[in-house]
């Protein structure tokens, strides 16, 4: 099932913001064990939390952008472009690993 237009439907905006904050922390790859525990509790605390996090994660995964875009040509100036490709995919692994550890990979699509 495609959830695109239903992303975040009926979920309070402040919970979506919380989900984004957690996702960003996960993306940093620098969450402490205590933070991971807090995150797991947060997810279970309210169905809205899990829904928000899973749906925000889906958007995050789909929002990957490629080099052939106008955005990539005009932005990130002053920085060399030699770091890309495999590095980009490697960077996704922080979240992928964290999700697997937390048992979050459920059949929701």
């Amino acid at each position: 099932m495609s959830i695109d237009e239903w992303v975040g439907y009926g979920i309070p905006e402040e919970i979506i913001d919380e989900a984004i904050v957690w996702l960003t922390k996960l993306d940093s790859g620098e969450m402490s064990d205590q933070q991971k525990t807090e995150f797991a509790h947060w997810l279970d605390d309210d169905p809205n939390h899990r829904w928000a996090f899973e749906e925000v994660s889906t958007v995050w995964a789909r929002s990957s952008i490629r080099h052939d875009t106008s955005v990539s040509k005009s932005k990130a100036s002053g920085l060399t472009n030699h770091k890309n490709g495999s590095r980009y995919y490697a960077s996704l692994s922080y979240i992928a690993i964290a999700l697997v550890i937390l048992g979050l990979v459920v059949n929701f699509l």
């Binding site: 099932m1 495609s2 959830i3 695109d4 237009e5 239903w6 992303v7 975040g8 439907y9 009926g10 979920i11 979506i16 913001d17 984004i20 904050v21 996702l23 960003t24 922390k25 993306d27 940093s28 790859g29 620098e30 997810l43 279970d44 309210d46 169905p47 809205n48 899990r50 829904w51 899973e54 925000v56 958007v59 995050w60 789909r62 929002s63 990957s64 952008i65 490629r66 080099h67 106008s70 955005v71 990539s72 005009s74 932005k75 990130a76 920085l79 472009n81 770091k83 890309n84 590095r87 980009y88 995919y89 490697a90 960077s91 048992g103 979050l104 990979v105 459920v106 059949n107 929701f108």
Partner: protein, 191 residues
Amino acid sequence: MWPTMQNQTHSENYGPGWFEQLVEKTHDKLKRALCQMLSPAESEEVIQESYLKLFETLKKENLDNPQGYLYRSARNLAITRIRNKNVAQKFLDQKTEQIQVIEGNNEGYQALKEDQQHQQLHQVIATLPPVCRQVFVLRKLHGYSHKEIAETMNISQKTVENHIAKGMRACLEAFRRPTKIDSNYKRSQRG
């Protein structure tokens, strides 16, 4: 209310009475969350369907996270209901031109939709404030770590996180933009 999970194929990992405990732990939370989307009666139906789905699934396979599965099932069932109701309402309203016929050409429709979303995404990223945009692109396109971005741009890692969160919020809005179904549903609910 629920048949015991004992002696079922995959019940040994969860212990006796765990399903009842799960129901006790999750029922009211699910009810509150679902009532944001559906009537109390419909919410209750979705909850019962979700427990049943979990129960049936656990007979066939082991789940790492039954509660997560339950929550996701409830969400999917609720959205399916709303979507079906929405389509039915359009028929009743004779708004047939608004009904997206996707049967038979689902792949083409999906590809078109993804393409539109991709364009929307680029537009959104292009309109982010410059520093936010640069942080977001460095992370999402070039795969720099938060730490590397912080060092390169001479900002704190916390600031990097804030910019990425802001970019993420904007991307989310791009994906949510086609909210025609949403607003029609709300209108039909009000009317």
